[in-house]
Symmetry: none
Subunit: 209 residues, 4 copies
Amino acid sequence: MITPTHIADAPRASEPKREKGRLRVAAIMEAGIQVFTEKGYDAATMTEIAARSGTAIGSLYRFFPSKESLADALLLRYALHARNGLAEMAQQVADLTLESVADAFVDFMLVLQSQRSFAIALVDARGGSLDERARFREVMRGGVADILRKAVPGISPAKAKVMAVVLLQTLKGVISTANEEPAMQAMILAEIRELVRTYLASASGRKSK
Amino acid sequence: MITPTHIADAPRASEPKREKGRLRVAAIMEAGIQVFTEKGYDAATMTEIAARSGTAIGSLYRFFPSKESLADALLLRYALHARNGLAEMAQQVADLTLESVADAFVDFMLVLQSQRSFAIALVDARGGSLDERARFREVMRGGVADILRKAVPGISPAKAKVMAVVLLQTLKGVISTANEEPAMQAMILAEIRELVRTYLASASGRKSK
Amino acid sequence: MITPTHIADAPRASEPKREKGRLRVAAIMEAGIQVFTEKGYDAATMTEIAARSGTAIGSLYRFFPSKESLADALLLRYALHARNGLAEMAQQVADLTLESVADAFVDFMLVLQSQRSFAIALVDARGGSLDERARFREVMRGGVADILRKAVPGISPAKAKVMAVVLLQTLKGVISTANEEPAMQAMILAEIRELVRTYLASASGRKSK
Amino acid sequence: MITPTHIADAPRASEPKREKGRLRVAAIMEAGIQVFTEKGYDAATMTEIAARSGTAIGSLYRFFPSKESLADALLLRYALHARNGLAEMAQQVADLTLESVADAFVDFMLVLQSQRSFAIALVDARGGSLDERARFREVMRGGVADILRKAVPGISPAKAKVMAVVLLQTLKGVISTANEEPAMQAMILAEIRELVRTYLASASGRKSK
DNA sequence: GATGAATGAGGGTTCATTCAT
DNA sequence: TATGAATGAACCCTCATTCAT
């Protein structure tokens, strides 16, 4: 189980102590997301991230003492985001139909889409520390599994976990649509939506047997 | 539409004319797959690929004039492999139940698994040229769509294409199981199998309405 | 000839006027000795010295406007220490046998040992300004030569100076024992003691001829 | 006991396989000695060593994959030199008077002087790996101790070892003369020579008692 | 005066690629 | 043709020093 403590760990070298420092950190993280997303972890360079955020290279390293620590910080922040979103969704699940839950999953992915593609760059392609990446995956799986347990009454925890893994894999497709032509994009999205509904429905049916 | 011509385009500098040359190329490609798989495109080095294949670095560059060209060649070969596998599957579809087709997809993924993880390294993580990566995606989507058109009578070509995209995304999950614990691995695999069956079944039902 | 004036030259940016400032300077110098000793001049960083002394980096630079100036200040203070010690020894020489003088030299080295290893770090390994290092050497040589002139009646000033150089070199061995195993350490120390006695004795004999 | 095997270990990344490579390695080592001697280990830069030897930085790293490995190689080569010199001296000891042996030690130091000052830079000031530095010290001590055992009949091995340590420390003074004015230089040298004779003589006397 | 953020030259090292042998 | 030495731009990161707050 992921606790807030696990997540609140600060991967920064030194917490900025002045307002200016906080702004700088924000600018760096923004630039970091951009560059990691565009080029992937390995091809991204700290020099470019510094330039893109209007920061001297030395200043960047003041706050993030290594490339990995920057990636970890970004991953961590995204994990928090996602966890909150999933937690929120979990609270509303009781009042929703299965179909609405399915849609909520897809919508959730869409909302995170911009950041999500960077998360893929970092998680799937060796960005950040092994630990942080594993932790990130657990957060996502745990959050989705929680929702499934509420949405599909009677489902076993183990089953919920497995379904979460498969569901997340399918939902990743939402991100990829970003690279498709608009017409194709809409169709793929609709198809994913349909598949997720079907998946939840069948799961609900299966368990009740 | 992908024609053989598209695929047979040789990204190699010079087709080796002698037996010795062909062996050398094979050794290089084998080493390339290994190293790209283990380290990812960026972290893989030409020097290591040369060493691992018992080739001098200069010789490597005679056959593959750049790192990208080597990645392209590997991607191409893998695409051919996959295309053949999918084509074969297409021929048998007529005699199979929908459920069997679903299983065949998963099995196909499993068969390719070893090479597949390298393909992911190259396609998802910016290995090879943009063109080659796009081409590779088209081959996969086209092959899967072909099968869907045969397996689900009455499906429209557009619908088949969209389904292929979503299906491939879901099937990618088969690869990822490699990193899970054995017990989890089996459960995820079974779950994917189930989802694919459900997906095909529902598609078959939908179209008939 | 070294006069107090030469030595009292303050390499500090600004003599601290208040008690607080003096404490701060003391803390910095203490930390400086530690870090220079542990890491050597080059590898020591002003940041670490600041941190180790509980001082902000900006404050450190208020008192010591450069790394070199800090090293110089430390060298200077150590030179004063040594000079006083040697001066004291000089006063007692008249009442001592040659053998006791020899022992006093070795003991003197042992007393300074802790600080001495930092002095070696700075003098032998290019820490501090050339000037300061030369001045330091002169102080040591002068002090030892003074003692020799008193301990070995009739010795010429030039001869005393030369002997001081050679004697100091031999006495450096006392410091190095710090890195040997305890058993070896004791033996080396005894051996040096013996050699110094022999040296003084032979010098005393030679000059009388 | 140091065996040739210990010493022949090659710290190079890849032994040069062509004549040109061997020349390059020689040039690099020459430049390395110069720069390490002038600036000390830390302050020496690989860039300067490369420039001084007319080598591209990449080529330098082909043969010496790290700064440390270069320092180690230099230390090793010097150790071989010294060992051979000491071994040679050992063979002649039987025919020499004690005084001649003392002179031989000083002369040996003088012969090695140019390289010796770089060895001091590396051994005393953290250059090269800890292992290599320790090994170097052992080689020197062992070689000198061997000679002492032959020159001073009846001396115990342990005593020879301890004397070697102290003797080497004193002989280091020969190197330092390089920085003195010529007149002073000659006097110091003569003084060291005298001290070493006295030391050997007294040792010979002591043991015989 | 104290603080700590900012700066950027420079350091060690890597690696795709070229080219002389 | 096969080999491996050569090249150098670029990378990640450090740290002495300055300066605004």
